[in-house]
């Protein structure tokens, strides 16, 4: 079991009022959460409800165009359309066993909110989702989906009105309601969340290792994933960490370009600090005030990165790069046109980095974690590309 610290990163920087809830969660995870009966129930849900294992798809046409061997781990095919459901199922099941009746969650792109609303419907739990008003507009269909699933969506109107502010508000709500379970959606926050979320997302990498061995009869040269908080990336990275021949690349949101200051590239534009309960890399000014971020994708538009990534970065085991809004949109169209797959804007950043670096990756076997599907993004895609008007 990992945590509270990953090297110098992580920890438990939470108000005293929340500490007993965090400790209760940690102990439930270590006892109930490790029991064979819990794991069986979780795996049954992953298989028969969520649709695991997700396929590993070889992309022959696009691979050929880019001069490399491209494989996609298809989290977009998971129920509700993104990897977020793995974690939501695991945590909600744990909360149910802890006797919790109410779930609080934050969401950026709305995928985690939808996943949480979904499992709450399934497991008969009350569900409240906090979402920034900017995100609620740009991911409108996900707001409607959450409401249809029976969740209450609380729109957050302060700060930058995006994911960071939704996390602030969810933490505040939990502080006033410590009997609820806070179902945090990415591998960030105070311990035990980063380790807990990674635990429930590891299934992605465990499947992928086996699938690529079976289908390609080899391991990949690179594993590439987009990094918002870092849950889909850590979910696939962990399985490949021990194999030093595999390059691990996390792709952050480059927004308008890191040089413009309008981005969410924490490793190239930030410094270490503490936000939302953990020590990690942040976008902040010299006084430690958190800076606004920018990304076309709501799910990557966040000023901190999960602490396990900060540790992998410090160790040099994983490298972190960025793709701009434009890179992501270009790759998104390429995947649509060549493979008939519409990726989420978040996942398109991983593809965008591959496309931009195709010359250096010539002939390589590249495994991209396609964390979600892009249906939720149609309005932004059309608007940005000037289509359909």
């Amino acid at each position: 079991m990992k945590g509270p610290y990953f090297g110098d990163f992580g920890g438990q920087f939470a108000p005293e009022t929340l500490m007993p809830s965090l400790q209760e969660l940690e102990s439930a995870w270590q006892s109930i959460g490790q029991s064979p009966s819990f794991r069986k129930e979780f795996n049954d849900l992953l298989k028969n409800y969520a649709g695991r294992p997700t396929p590993l798809t070889p992309c022959r046409r696009l691979g050929e165009a880019w001069g490399l061997e491209l494989w996609l781990k298809r989290e977009d095919l998971l129920h509700t359309g993104a990897h977020k459901l793995n974690n939501a199922l695991g945590q909600a099941l744990l909360a149910k066993h802890m006797g919790k009746t109410r779930i609080l969650a934050e969401t950026g792109a709305g995928q985690h909110g939808v996943a949480t609303a979904t499992v709450c419907a399934l497991l008969d739990l009350e569900c409240v989702v906090y979402m920034g008003s900017v995100d609620a507009v740009r991911q409108k269909t996900n707001v409607l989906r959450m409401e249809l699933l029976g969740a209450r969506v609380e729109i957050v109107e302060h700060g930058q009105k995006t994911l960071k502010d939704a996390v602030n508000e969810a933490l505040r709500a939990w502080t006033g309601d410590p009997d609820a379970h806070y179902l945090l959606g990415s591998a960030l926050g105070p311990h035990p969340f980063p380790a807990l979320v990674a635990d429930f997302q590891q299934v992605i990498g465990k499947e992928a290792v086996q699938q690529i061995a079976d289908q390609a009869d080899a391991s990949p040269d690179l594993v590439v994933a987009c990094v918002g908080g870092g849950s889909n990336a850590i979910g696939i990275f962990r399985a490949f960490e021990e194999d030093a021949s595999v390059r691990l690349v996390g792709v952050e949101a480059g927004g308008d370009g890191v040089e413009t200051g309008r981005h969410a590239a924490r490793f190239s534009g930030g410094t270490p600090g503490v936000l939302h309960g953990c020590r990690t890399w942040l976008l902040q000014n010299e006084d430690g005030q958190i800076l606004p971020t920018h990304s076309v994708s709501a799910g990557l538009d966040y000023p901190a990165v999960g602490p396990e990534h900060a540790a992998l970065h410090a160790l040099g085991r994983a490298e972190y790069a960025s793709a701009t809004d434009e890179d992501a949109l270009t790759a998104l169209q390429a995947l649509c046109k060549r493979e008939g797959i519409l990726p989420a804007l978040e996942s398109s950043h991983a593809l965008g980095w591959v496309q931009q670096n195709q010359d250096d990756l010539r002939g390589k076997r590249v495994l991209v974690n396609l964390s979600g599907r892009g249906d939720k993004d149609l309005a932004i895609i059309f608007e940005t590309l000037g289509l359909g008007t």
Partner: protein, 267 residues
């Protein structure tokens, strides 16, 4: 008596004489740092036991809407760490003697070369204690050590959710006072001083080595009366910050409001 510093002297004196006090909370730089300076002097004149001075943070997760807005206004007005400390130093230079507990979320304290250097600057400017709302016992060891090195009193928290063991630990590691959160939740709103709350405060008083200050949701003289049944100090933040924001003469408002609150002490 040889006390650790000004704050500990003030709170131990309250204890020894079985008196109670009011500790106002201010967001530094809300309305400008010149206003904060004037308000500090006014609060001293009105007889505050000590002041909790909050350095604004962009993402204050333990604060409700009123204190969030105050921090945002202060940051938008350009308040910096350096200017805030300079204001504190000026207050001391002008003869200000109030014990000051400097409140900051942990992240700003980790910048400018790290804890050791920021705490040294805070102490050098003239603050007496440090309050960090997102630093629980599990993470506070280094800060406590640095506080000791700089004669800053480390102030830790106890909450209604804490349980006896944690309250006792926090109470023995705090100096000046133990910050007791009066209610489950963030700042703002109001706290009902019902039997459950009073029992909790009584427990905190019994378990804590340090005097106890109760905060969160204390707004009126009546609240002060109830809050200080067992607590040595009552911290009034949101209500004061709100009044100051709407005031044309913040120093006078601070003085008058503190006097009004103190009327709850003697009943």
């Amino acid at each position: 008596m040889n006390h650790f510093n000004r704050l500990e002297h003030a709170t131990q004196t309250l204890r020894e004489t079985n008196q109670r006090g009011v500790a106002p909370y201010l967001t530094a730089g809300d309305g400008g740092l010149t206003t904060t300076l004037a308000v500090l002097h006014a609060l001293e004149k009105a007889g505050a036991t000590c002041v909790e001075l909050g350095f604004p943070f962009s993402d204050p997760i333990a604060d409700g809407p009123i204190l969030q807005a105050a921090a945002q206004r202060s940051l938008e007005a350009g308040t910096t760490f350096a200017d805030t400390l300079e204001m504190v130093a000026t207050y001391r230079k002008e003869g200000g003697e109030l014990p000051l507990a400097f409140m900051s979320y942990i992240n700003p304290l980790l910048q400018h070369g790290g804890l050791s250097s920021t705490c040294q600057r805070i102490a050098y400017a003239g603050a007496d204690a440090l309050v960090v709302p997102d630093l629980p016992l599990e993470e506070s060891e280094e800060l406590e050590k640095v506080c000791w090195e700089n004669r800053l009193a480390p102030i830790l928290f106890a909450a209604p959710t804490s349980g006896d063991a944690r309250i006792q630990k926090a109470g023995s590691r705090s100096h000046g006072f133990l910050y007791v959160v009066g209610r489950v939740g963030i700042t703002g709103g109001s706290t009902a001083f019902d039997n459950t709350t009073q029992e909790f405060l009584q427990t905190a008083r019994r378990l804590s080595n340090a005097p106890i200050a109760v905060g969160f949701g204390i707004r009126t003289a009546d609240d002060i009366r109830s809050a200080t049944k067992y607590a040595d100090l009552a911290i009034v933040g949101t209500a004061l910050v709100e009044k100051l924001h709407y005031s044309k003469d913040p120093a006078k408002t601070a003085f008058d409001f503190l006097k009004e609150l103190q009327s709850g002490l003697n009943a």
